[in-house]
Amino acid sequence: MADPYERALESLLRVDGVRAAILVDADMGVPVVMEADAGVDADAAAALGAELFRRSARCADLAGAGSLRTLQLAAEDGHLLVAAAGGLLIVAVAAPDAQLAVLRVEAGRVAGSLA
């Protein structure tokens, strides 16, 4: 895959336990490219993940913590990771037993390459 966006998705999906990887327009909250397992509502993950990031970024800003870089939401049946990448957001949906540390590193690397 030559496209840098598709290459970014491919590297995120290579991490064990990642069920969906989406690049989202940060302002609009709409997916630019996405790959998701069946059963994952990628549009909803993109829109709601971007919204959550936007609100958390505002909260971080108000708290004087500076600009938000990554956000990780742990839930009973999985994880949601959102990372800023310039005008894009990286949204990853992962299983409860996913390699989260690897995913965070990979998301940071992808963010750096896209920003």
Binding site: D25, G29, V30, D43, A47, A50, E51, R54
Partner: protein
């Protein structure tokens, strides 16, 4: 054409889902109109908008988008998004089995297109479950549609059309 009683029932049924839609998306204003431009429900801050004009123009936009979708082989259109400098507008048509309904949502930066679109789809699913919408009031008849649309345009143009 719906009777006054049918219309009252319909207006009542649409109020709850639209209120919930506005609460979840934080759009400034949302209206539901039928394909002839008749306003069926409105929620949010409508001050500053001529809501009946918005309804008529939404019906006209729906007719134009449907014709364009037909001509280009895209079949049915699902969303129409207009981005302004301060505000955005999303139009979404819902096929309910009877008359098409059209959602008009006006929003600003306090929400995002992704959220507005996501919940618009969910609103459509909810509306399709309302049995009263599957019945009468169909405007699929071309001559009646044209007549009703013409009436809507006249209202917008102040009877000059």
């Amino acid at each position: 054409m719906r009777t006054r009683a049918e219309l009252a029932v319909l207006v009542d049924l649409l109020r709850g889902p639209l209120r919930e839609y506005v609460r979840e998306t934080r759009v400034r204003m949302a209206v539901l109109v039928d394909a002839s431009g008749q306003l069926l429900a409105q929620q949010g801050f409508s001050r500053g908008y001529e809501v009946t004009n918005v309804a008529s123009l939404a019906a006209a936009a729906h007719a134009a988008a449907s014709a364009l979708a037909d001509m280009t082989g895209a079949r049915r259109w699902t969303h129409l998004h207009n981005e302004g400098s301060n505000q955005h507008m999303l139009l979404a048509p819902y096929a309910t089995g009877g008359s098409d309904l059209i959602l008009v949502a006006i929003f600003d930066r306090s929400t995002s297109l992704g959220i507005v679109r996501l919940f618009s789809d969910r609103l459509g699913e909810r509306l399709r479950q309302i049995p009263e919408l599957r019945g009468g009031g169909s405007v699929r008849d071309a001559s009646r549609f044209e007549h009703e649309l013409e009436g809507g345009v006249r209202r917008v143009m102040g009877d000059q059309a």
